[in-house]
Point group: C2
Chain length 458, copies 2
């Protein structure tokens, strides 16, 4: 390979970094359904939500009309510590695959939290600080969100209480330790520090926990402690708003080189990365200015898009949170303990759910062992050890590139490489030793948890 016109890595300058987040909802013809009060079935008001969330974040959550939210200077300054993130042209992968496809990935792993989660963590911590709060509570699954929030809180001097899904807490002792370096307290969930945790422990002794359960505990802790609010790393509209920085940077970088992607691929758990990556591109599609294929890739072990139901459901296992209309497997759904990494939430962002429902996006599910095979292949070819979550997108991108090889099409593929796998080596070891399985829920499993959906008209 000689010096190429398009570099291996495209870095924007600090001035080229977005000055505003983009709110995809402003361009949606059918808006995402509102959050409902589980008791009355009425849409949650700002006043009600402010008991749980910070004031300004509630405004962002509810605003379906404002397209651009200026990024406060303090947040932009924090972003500059680890952003802009590189848009990488995967020359080595293309060569290895011998594909005519052109592959790009937006790499969000070059920060200590190891993923894109920091983009929303600093925003949420900033608004909490601005409101004069003492601290925030949250849950974390694979640990990326908890680490990101710990970093943001450590930087701003806010207290940070993290409920970590028990199986991750045990599989990832070093993640906890990073959170402690940044001053956070970390509790394995379910725990006996909350009423909802005690109840779940009594009902399911020996449970390895779930994200939905950890959410319940974090929310309870926030509402029962003076000066605390709850923050969440995915699913919510506000999170997708903050994560639009990923897509905005990617689009600016591609535009500089006159490149237009044909296919845009992201892994999908709660939707934070996917929603952020596709935002400005989807905006163009919604406004009829351009067309793109969008592919959401989810684990076969937690397939909310591909096997779930589009309905109102609780966001948490403890059923204390508002109801959201989304693709869901039911709030009692817990992926098999063999499932490694994140993407373990039973539901999906309301925004993405609506877009998928309206046909703007495709979804596919992939098996865990195939994901790790793609991860190792990618690590050797492109040098980066990817997170299991990100590797779902890698696998789908490789499959599309192989398809291009068959058809001879020179498509341009963009995917989100959300993070690194430095804290996922227990899972890599399982994959190597052949111990890893790909346990997929049965139809009965899913029917059972879906049977508990709340009776609400959406």
């Amino acid at each position: 390979m000689s010096e190429n016109k398009i570099p291996y890595k495209i870095y924007l300058s600090e001035e080229e970094m977005p000055h505003s987040w983009y709110n995809l909802r402003a361009d949606m013809k059918v808006k995402p359904a509102p959050l409902l009060d589980p008791g009355t079935g009425a849409p949650m008001t700002a006043a009600e939500l402010e008991g749980v969330f910070c004031k300004e974040l509630v405004q962002q959550e509810l605003d379906n009309d404002t397209a651009l939210f200026p990024i406060p200077q303090e947040i932009r300054d924090f972003y500059k510590m680890y952003r802009p993130s590189p848009l990488v042209r995967a020359y080595c992968l293309e060569e290895k695959l011998q594909t005519p496809a052109k592959i790009y990935y937006k790499f969000e792993g070059n920060n200590t939290s190891g993923s894109h989660k920091l983009n929303s963590a600093i925003a949420q911590a900033y608004y909490a600080k601005k409101q004069g709060l003492t601290g925030v509570t949250t849950e974390t699954g694979a640990g990326q969100w908890g680490t990101a929030l710990s970093m943001a809180c450590g930087y701003l001097g806010l207290d940070c209480k993290v409920y970590m899904v028990k199986c991750s807490y045990e599989q990832k002792p070093f993640r906890r330790e990073v959170m402690k370096v940044y001053g956070a307290s970390v509790t394995p969930s379910p725990s006996d520090t909350t009423e909802v945790g005690k109840k779940i422990l009594a009902q399911f002794p020996g449970t390895t926990g779930s994200l939905g359960c950890a959410i319940s505990e974090a929310v309870e802790t926030a509402v029962t402690h003076e000066g605390y609010r709850y923050v969440l790393g995915s699913v919510l509209n506000q999170v997708l708003l903050h994560q639009s920085v990923i897509g905005l940077e990617a689009k600016t970088a591609l535009d500089k080189y006159g490149v237009k992607p044909d296919i845009i691929i992201g892994c999908a758990g709660g939707g934070s990365n996917l929603g952020g990556l596709i935002a400005p591109f989807m905006g163009e599609k919604l406004r009829g200015e351009a067309d793109y294929r969008f592919i959401a890739v989810e684990p076969a072990s937690c397939p909310s898009f591909t096997r779930g139901k589009f309905a109102y459901d609780f966001c948490d296992t403890g059923m204390v949170c508002p109801l959201a209309k989304m693709y869901t497997l039911g709030s009692s759904f817990i992926p098999n303990a063999d499932h490694a990494g994140g993407l373990r939430f039973h539901g999906m962002s309301s925004i993405l759910s609506q877009l998928y429902h309206d046909g703007y996006m495709e979804a596919t599910s992939v098996k865990q062992t195939d994901v790790f095979e793609a991860a190792e292949y990618f690590a050797r070819v492109e040098g980066i050890l990817p997170a299991p979550e990100s590797s779902h997108a890698i696998l789908a991108a490789i499959n599309e590139a192989k398809h291009c090889k068959e058809t001879g099409e020179e498509k341009t593929i963009l995917f989100g490489l959300t993070g690194t796998g430095y804290f996922d080596l227990v899972a890599y070891e399982k994959f190597h030793s052949g111990e890893m399985k790909s346990v997929v829920p049965t139809d009965e499993d899913i029917a059972k948890s879906l049977a508990q959906l709340p009776q609400v008209q959406g």
Copy 2:
């Protein structure tokens, strides 16, 4: 903070990346002393060295005159996968310290090996491949070099046999796993796979190993296996040559903004990072074109510059390697098992030893607990979780910046942030729990190992 003229991170373009490595020896008036045959005391010839090292690397090792070695295009292309590395202006650290000093660091941790070691690993693997070899052998202490070499070999399809210092092998299971992802085989050292390993095990049963011992085993394996050569991640002249890419990029980036550092600080184990970082600046000093203060920072638990002797010594514990003239604690010196991370080699690069001996450079040693305190402080302020090795430089830079605060001097400080601490969390945990000690060798310890220096005139 508003938009600053100098950005938080200065990224060079691919074209601005160095096209040649810079050989500091070309500008040294007193050249580093040659490697000697331990049997005859005569300088090692190229032919002799080629039994152990790759042919082209031997040329680089022995060449004291050529200033610039063009970087082969294949290596430049590999560099583009993770370079240029950012030169970071530590605005947040400056503000936190309330210092008039301006602090920059060259951050080499944004790659899966987690450190600068990849710069030389790809070069050495490339020349091995070019020579048609089957594979390479090496040792690794903290694991950074082994990981880097595994990545380079995985990329080029070379076999890679790594001897890992036993205490690191046990403390860092995930490092081994990363190496395995890249296809390397990893053996704890001392082992019974080599004669020298067996001998050391018999002499010191229960030893936690040392870098010098692992070197002996790797060299023995290379010379007893057809198609294998030995490669080393530090100390050697060739390694400093490859690592000059760090200093060259840093200097280009600073020059772009008209910034001239007053003080340049690097951690020092075998000297790979320090030698690479200072190279072009030291060249200017040697040529009388500019002046800089250079500070080598070493662990108090392994203080070769500050408490060692400038003399010919073996590079390995097994005394099978050539003799190098260097600051050394004696080849049988092993830092206390409490010592975390790298910087555990008993000797020091001959180039840096000569420069230090000739008064071109200062050296200081710091205690482990102080190093971790600085590491945690830095992590919270600058967002990056640093490697223990790098944190030696952080501590010294913070001390210099505090001194500037006292004197009011607006000095410009540049230091090398060689890597990340994601695989050092056992050590961070020890620091947090108060279990960490700072065990410093006694005068008797050092006198004992120095008593075994070979009797050679240098």
